[in-house]
């Protein structure tokens, strides 16, 4: 918000440089953003918080400075001359028909005005704060708004039908053309100012064009009212019309200030137009007198701040701020804040007033004397840390993406609805909540591969969003792990041949990650998903529960993200993973074998339709044989193996705890296994 240095110095005597003045106000809660020269003047930009409408003008800001610096405030001196022979109530009338939205409506009349340009001093002031001078009457109302903070509006009295003002709610279908030339449709809940025929202003927001001040105006009705903040805010938002007046009304104006502001402004209008102020005031006030009394306990001030501060200092600050303070021995204080400080209503508000003018820097620095048994990280948090570490050990770098995506992103990963919608998105393509981590990761992969990296491995952990079962309930936020892998060649050592990354790189990473949480039974089964290449997708199961999927993305998906080579992706639910974990039974080690195991290799040839899982299951399924482990060490297709067949080299370790096995036993075990493989899978030994 802009302020003029010269204007401010008219309100308060200070020798502070602009920089020092800004620092001082910043220290009491009115932060200076910047300042710059403006002709002979200096313009400040202060950020005035929404709870301090009283500081959105030069006198108000000056008042804070006067309290901070201990100097006096110089309020404008004026006397309402009332030098016109005419009595105001014989020239016009005002009435409030919606007292719930307008507690007080005050009007003064100025006759015989000659509307022209404002004098240079007035125009310069307005220009300094960024306003365009319009004419002497309108400029005077703007001047007083920026001087005292109360919004005013001037009507051309001759244009008001019936020479009357009625403050009422708009009628259904009623319309008004506002000062900016736009015709606006009014809603029945909006408060308007009307004459006896039609709307002439949107209360607290903007006047109407039909009754605006022009060069031909001779009689002015000057409005100074108090409107209900929420009503002005709703109207201003509904019309998309934000003005200096609405900005202040919606933050709360001083109901006691209407006459004072009107008098000041009428005096100024008379001065700059040569007009005469009619005798008397037109007013309809239904709001009760403002008087808030706040109980203040000095020990509460000290207790809440942790500061030792004397009662006389507290009292002095409050009084300089315009509060009346009543103290009687042994009792709490009774403090009545000034009417323009609508933000002061409870004891803690006064604590802040005292603290801010005493200086936040004077409050000591201590630590809470609260002793709690430390909780540390929770199990799910520790688990997430381990998971993230394990994925990184597989060479995946951690990404962090916006959770805002496009409907296309969600649809590509199987959410036909496109996902939860954002009603007021900031950008196209960021109007849905993500349903999967994969689209963001694919964007990252494409970004990196386009910069000529041979391979990209990225992962992310974060929430995805599922629509709530019932409208209005919160969506289901599910924590997931997503991985993508792609590029021309997998990370490799110079001693190894170059190869493209494949499914098993991804599967291995997911296996290791899940196993970082403990000895878990992990299974993989073929699956079909609309976004995976048929036959190249798998489902990951832990303890029989499906956690998610992994596989090669369909060509059309990789094309959509402009990815050239095969892209592998996988996504698992960390919530499902947590649910699949065994209970919190303490981990125990397995005693080491004291007798050696015996290992034997089998070279099998079997029909290509059988899976390794079936081979292993068949071996382990032979009853009464102490199989310690089964490991695939080779897999081969093509000559000399017949077409349609697969060769598998399997290493089996037998181990019988507590005793050494003899070779006759081992041969018998192998025979039974070979029989089983032949019976179940039609497997034969290579070379036989």
């Amino acid at each position: 918000m802009r302020f003029s240095d010269q204007w401010l110095r008219d309100c308060v005597e200070t020798r502070l440089s602009p920089q020092a003045l800004g620092t001082r106000l910043t220290e009491v809660g009115l932060p200076l953003d910047s300042f710059e020269a403006f002709g002979e003047d200096t313009v400040y930009h202060f950020d005035v918080a929404t709870n301090r409408p009283d500081c959105m003008n030069h006198l108000g800001l000056g008042r804070e400075l006067s309290v901070a610096e201990g100097v006096s405030l110089k309020e404008p001196v004026f006397t309402v001359s009332g030098d016109s022979p005419q009595a105001a109530d014989r020239l016009a009338s005002v009435s409030v028909e919606a007292a719930d939205l307008c507690g007080r409506y005050t009007a003064l009349l100025i006759e015989k005005v000659k509307v022209g340009n404002s004098p240079p001093w007035l125009s310069r002031r307005l220009e300094a704060i960024g306003l365009r001078p319009i004419n002497s009457v309108v400029d005077a109302t703007n001047y007083v708004l920026w001087e005292m903070g109360h919004p005013l509006h001037a009507f051309d009295l001759a244009k008001l039908s019936g020479r009357t003002i009625r403050v009422r709610r708009a009628k259904s279908g009623e319309r008004i053309t506002t000062l900016d030339g736009v015709e606006r449709k009014l809603q029945p809940e909006m408060l308007i100012i009307a004459d006896d025929r039609k709307a002439v202003a949107v209360a607290g927001v903007m006047g109407g064009r039909d009754s605006e001040i022009s060069g031909a105006t001779t009689e002015v009705l000057l409005e100074s009212a108090h409107f209900q903040p929420a009503s002005v805010r709703k109207t201003s938002r509904a019309l998309g019309l934000h003005t200096d007046a609405s900005h202040r009304f919606e933050r709360g104006t001083d109901v006691e200030a209407t006459l004072k502001a009107a008098s000041r402004c009428a005096t100024l209008i008379a001065e700059v137009t040569g007009g005469k102020i009619a005798r008397g005031v037109l007013e309809d006030r239904q709001a009760p007198a403002t008087r808030r009394e706040i109980v203040l306990r000095p020990e509460r001030v000290r207790g809440l701040l942790g500061l030792s501060i004397s009662e006389s200092v507290m009292q002095d600050i409050l009084q300089r701020l315009g509060c009346s303070v009543t103290r009687s021995a042994g009792e709490a204080w009774r403090v009545v804040p000034p009417s323009f400080r609508g933000d002061l209503s409870i004891e803690e508000d006064l604590v802040e007033e005292i603290a801010r003018h005493h200086g936040y820097e004077k409050i000591p620095v201590t630590l809470p004397r609260v002793f709690l048994s430390p909780e540390g990280r929770s199990e799910p948090e520790k688990r997430l840390d381990r998971i993230r570490r394990a994925v990184r050990h597989c060479g995946f770098s951690e990404a962090l993406n916006l959770t805002l995506v496009s409907p296309g992103d969600n649809q590509a990963l199987g959410d036909s609805s496109g996902g939860i919608r954002i009603l007021n998105p900031l950008a196209e393509g960021e109007d849905r909540l993500r349903f999967s981590l994969i689209p963001g990761l694919l964007r990252n992969l494409a970004y990196n591969l386009n910069r000529h990296l041979p391979e990209g491995r990225l992962f992310e952990t974060g929430r995805v969003f599922h629509p709530p079962a019932t409208q209005g309930e919160l969506p289901d936020e599910e924590e997931r792990l997503g991985l993508v892998l792609g590029g021309k060649s997998a990370a490799r050592h110079w001693s190894e041949p170059e190869r493209e990354p494949d499914f098993f790189d991804l599967k291995g990473a997911l296996d290791l990650t899940v196993r970082s949480l403990g000895e878990l039974q992990v299974e993989w089964k073929p699956t079909h998903r609309p976004f995976l290449t048929p036959g190249r997708g798998a489902e990951m199961l832990v303890a029989g529960k499906t956690l998610g999927w992994a596989g090669e993305l369909k060509q059309q998906i990789s094309d959509a993200w402009k990815l050239e080579n095969v892209v592998l992706a996988g996504e698992i639910s960390l919530r499902e993973l947590a649910a699949a974990l065994p209970g919190d039974a303490a981990f125990r080690h397995t005693p080491l074998a004291r007798t050696p195991g015996v290992s034997r290799d089998l070279a099998l040839i079997l029909d290509g339709t059988y899976t390794y899982r079936e081979v292993e299951a068949a071996i382990r399924g032979v009853e009464g044989i102490p199989v310690a482990s089964v490991e695939l060490f080779d897999r081969y297709e093509g000559a000399p193996i017949p077409t349609g067949k697969t060769g598998m080299g399997v290493r089996i370790v037998f181990h019988s705890p507590g005793r050494t096995m003899v070779s006759e036993e081992i041969s018998e075990f192998l025979d039974r296994i070979i029989h089983r493989l032949r019976d179940r899978l039609g497997a034969v030994l290579r070379g036989n």
């Binding site: 009491v28 803690e348 919608r421 936020e477």
Partner: protein, 337 residues
């Protein structure tokens, strides 16, 4: 006997120092250790002639000397350059290093922040990213149709829901679920309709809340100062300025002395020496009351600050978008803990 052993050792030392090649070493080895003619082997054989009372001590000495000679010979043999049998191993070739992925800088800073507060006795809390108007605004003393809501640039969803604009709803969820005394922090994603070099529509905040009997504004200052010094530098200063947030009273914003220039003024702090860091204050009595706590018997402080900003300052990142672009050349600079 012991004297003989001493002189034998001296002689061995002299010989091995003079040995220049493998042939010489092999001669020395044979001279001392060979089973047939080796001097030590011969001495061992004479052991049975020694007085039985001295025999164990002499035996030990003999064995020690034998071990000594074996070790020195092994060392000397190892240090000799073996004659080139084939091509040398090119030890400058890269070793097999498993590829280690990096941890995102936000997550690194997140962990660091959490560790500091855990050590200060805070617990970790969480809340949903999609919130109701009640938790994001009403319970935090932002009335309906109040202009303070304008500062929040909210994303709205259907059904009256919204994306949380700050982590402060976690204050309410915590106050509803737990009894004071409590000290928590909540770190997570928040959303505002804003995007430029220093703003992303999604960013991260950390919220702190301490509620107990006798909590003061001075405790708030001490907590923020302790944190700032641990996360940045030991000489960091904190400046509290009065400010307005509907859910705290008294309210404040706090600045840190610039972590880059130490407060002397640089481009990062726009020559002011200070960096705006976050908002704070004493929990508003209405917030306590709404969650079922008596503001006359307990008090509390709350603060919130930007995690992304901390990461940017710590790592010298000047464009927030770099944090969400996920360029591997950028990410791989953060090996992580």
């Amino acid at each position: 006997m012991q004297d003989r052993l001493q002189s034998l050792r001296k002689r061995f030392d002299a010989e091995i120092s003079a040995a220049a090649d493998a042939a010489a070493l092999s001669r020395i080895r044979a001279g001392y250790l060979s089973r047939k003619g080796g001097e030590l082997s011969q001495l061992l054989r004479t052991l049975k002639e020694v007085d039985p009372a001295e025999r164990p001590a002499v035996g030990d000495s003999l064995n020690n000397l034998k071990r000594y000679i074996e070790e020195r010979l092994a060392l000397a043999e190892g240090s000799l350059v073996a004659p080139p049998v084939s091509q040398d191993l090119d030890v400058s070739l890269p070793g097999r290093i498993p590829t280690l992925g990096s941890a995102h800088p936000i997550h690194q800073v997140r962990r660091e922040i959490e560790e500091i507060f855990l050590e200060m006795g805070f617990s970790l809390a969480q809340g949903p990213e999609v919130e109701t108007d009640f938790f994001n605004f009403v319970a935090l003393n932002f009335p309906v149709d109040h202009p303070a809501r304008d500062t929040q640039d909210t994303f709205y969803l259907e059904g009256g829901l919204l994306l949380r604009t700050h982590t402060s709803p976690v204050q309410i969820r915590t106050l509803q679920a737990r009894k004071p005394p409590l000290k928590i922090i909540a770190l997570g994603k928040v959303y505002r309709r804003d995007s430029d070099v220093s703003h992303s529509p999604m960013f991260h905040q950390v919220e702190g809340l301490a509620v107990a009997e006798g909590i003061t504004f001075a405790d708030l200052k001490g907590t923020v100062l302790t944190f700032a010094r641990r996360i940045f530098r030991e000489d960091t200063r904190v400046r509290f300025r009065p400010s307005y947030f509907p859910f705290v009273e008294p309210g404040a914003e706090f600045d840190l002395s610039c972590v880059l220039c130490g407060g002397n003024g640089c481009a990062t702090c726009k020559r002011s020496g200070w960096l705006e860091m976050g908002g704070a204050g004493m929990v508003h009595p209405e917030v306590l009351r709404q969650s079922g706590h008596d503001p006359q018997s307990v008090s509390g402080f709350a603060f919130g600050l930007g995690v992304d900003r901390i990461a940017m300052l710590k790592f010298g990142i000047d464009d927030i978008r770099l944090l969400f672009e996920n360029d591997l050349r950028f990410l791989s600079q953060f090996p992580g803990a």
